[in-house]
């Protein structure tokens, strides 16, 4: 009932291109549009270049590792101090073995948990900022959130190590174990605070401003008429915000969440500092140390460069390809969700 006026307006907001298209139809794209198209084409070009580069660069590793790369847990550079020997048609250090399962699991788990925390919190903050506080306080509060977006990754990591990790070890872990301990994955133990939970919390903190800023921005641009219409139907202010304004900015919310997810999947420094750097084992609880693909690439590049066969660096590049594929899949799924969601609504 309340959704009806919102639906009409969001239709107009979401598809402005249609009108302009109709008008220009039959004329053919002018130079201005072609110029814009050229600029837009740079993004696919960059992606293709990076992907091609990675594929060519990682090719020997892809041949050497085979499909087992995705399903094995062991990452061993082998003996870098003896001559490499031929194996699977590639020169490899003796004992070298590369598996990415640990890093894939760590990345997906930490980003997933981070989003579970970040999305509701971000929506709450943007609603609070857009409608909850008086106009006078809006700007300073917004600046506070924007400041969060500019805290360098390393500083998050530092704060994570000095404040968050001990907090996780001594407060969160016992609390979670006491309340949710009956669920297998939440029976927390050991780890000293470094691990999945700390990484997820830091990631959530880093993703929140990205989602919040975008959603807040969209909320402030909801036409006054839509709000008035909702009030006219007798809604409380919160109902107006949650039932009228939020659905109207749905595209912005989904776009923001995907942006945030991208940031979480690729975040490197802060996660590296609080994740505990798991190697060769999968997380068995929310307190387990993990490694994410991005942080592992950064932390291992130095060691990998000591491999005279080059296979270690190439295998890191292969991790990057896997991350690439995961990002593509995640985005594809998100897109399907958006489409099915809008169909259901329409």
């Amino acid at each position: 009932m309340i959704g009806t006026p919102a639906g009409v307006t969001s239709e107009g907001v979401a598809r402005p291109g249609v009108g302009s298209r109709r008008i220009r139809s039959g004329v053919g794209p002018g130079p201005f549009r072609l110029a814009l198209l050229g600029l837009a084409a740079i993004i696919p070009l960059v992606i293709v270049a990076v992907l091609l580069f990675l594929l060519i660069y990682a090719w020997p590793a892809i041949r050497f590792n085979g499909l087992g790369f995705l399903f094995t847990k062991t990452w061993d550079l082998g003996n870098l101090y003896a001559d490499p020997v031929p194996k699977h048609g590639v020169l490899a250090p003796i004992g070298a073995q590369y598996g990415s399962l640990v890093f894939v699991a760590g990345t997906l788990l930490s980003s997933g948990i981070a989003l579970l925390i970040a999305v509701p919190v971000s929506l709450g903050i943007s609603i609070f900022l857009a409608e909850g506080v008086g106009a006078k306080f809006r700007t300073p509060f917004a600046i506070v959130v924007e400041m969060l977006a500019v805290v360098p990754s390393v500083v998050y990591g530092l704060w994570g190590v000095t404040v968050l990790v001990p907090l996780v070890a001594h407060v969160f872990a016992p609390a979670i174990a006491a309340v949710l301990g009956f669920i297998p994955f939440f029976g927390a133990s050991g780890g000293g605070g470094f691990g999945l939970l700390a990484a997820s919390l830091v990631l959530a903190l880093m993703v929140i401003p990205i989602i919040t800023i975008t959603v807040y921005d969209a909320l402030t641009r909801v036409p006054r008429e839509a709000k008035e219409a909702a009030y006219a139907l007798g809604t409380t202010k919160f109902e107006m915000v949650s039932r009228t304004m939020l659905p109207m900015v749905r595209p912005a919310i989904i776009g923001a969440v995907i942006l945030g997810l991208g940031r979480a999947l690729g975040e490197t420094m802060a996660v590296l500092m609080v994740s505990g750097g798991a190697l060769n084992y999968l997380p068995h609880s929310i307190m387990s140390p993990i490694s994410t693909m991005a942080s592992f690439i950064l932390s291992q590049l130095d060691s990998a460069e000591q491999d005279p066969s080059g296979l270690a660096v190439q295998s890191l590049a292969e991790i990057a390809i896997v991350l690439f594929v995961i990002t593509v899949l995640v985005n594809a799924v998100a897109r399907l969700l958006v489409r099915s969601g809008s169909n259901a609504r329409g």
Partner: protein, 296 residues
Amino acid sequence: MADLSATRGSMLEAAIGKSVPRSVSWRRARSSIGWCLCIIAFLLVAVPLADIIVLVVVRGFSAFTPQLFTQITQGVSGGLLNAITGTLLLSLGALIIGVPVGVGGGIYLAEFGNGRFGSLVRFLADVLTGVPSIVLGYFSYVTMVIWLGWQFSALAAAITLAIIILPYMAKLTELVMRQIPVPMREAAYALGATESMVVIRVLLPVARPGIVTSILLALAISVGETAPLIYTAGWSNYVWNGRFTHEPVGYLTYVIWSFINQPFASAHALAFAAALLVMLTVLVINLGARAVLRKA
């Protein structure tokens, strides 16, 4: 204004409330709970942020001296002139390359991007935000720094940063443009305006605050990035000498990342001073942009 609408809301509630009293009190309670949750969400972020800011400000300010802005870095002591100028150089370079491309691409997506190509670009932009910056950094290292022989350089670093901010710019620009009501375009086209006139004279001015916000976010990202610069800009103890290639550049995040790992108090002081500078820089830009927007 908030008060007024609240009053009006409760008046309406009161009017409706006579017929369904229980429902109204429940709705009121639910609204209050909703607001409480929003406030809790805000505090959840505000408290850690306050803690981070206190950490950086307290330790950063105690390291603030005039020489920070006048001297170059000597090992892990001295000033940060080289890093301050370097960060400005690299970020501006990234904006110069990345903003036109990102804004142009975003306009295309919003105005003409309803076809298959548009959704492909949109999709790949999302993919690009998920590529870890270290991977882009290493890509640039092998292609530009080594293959093209640019060595550690401002150009390789600025291009890498531009690639990183590109998808954010494009996506945010598109979001902003799409929120401009269709009638504005229709009116302009009805007056016989060409596509370029509609976009540049009608839509861009309306979208300007949003685009400035996205440029700010892009600037924040490029000022705060570390990983992609380690392998492209390298690091330099000296102020940039004007060469776009074959000359490494210093930057503030390197100081944070690297100096915090050193066993000297002077190194830690510089690291926190750099962290504070990064945050202050963006705060100043932020406030400046707001002032500009208010005037316009």
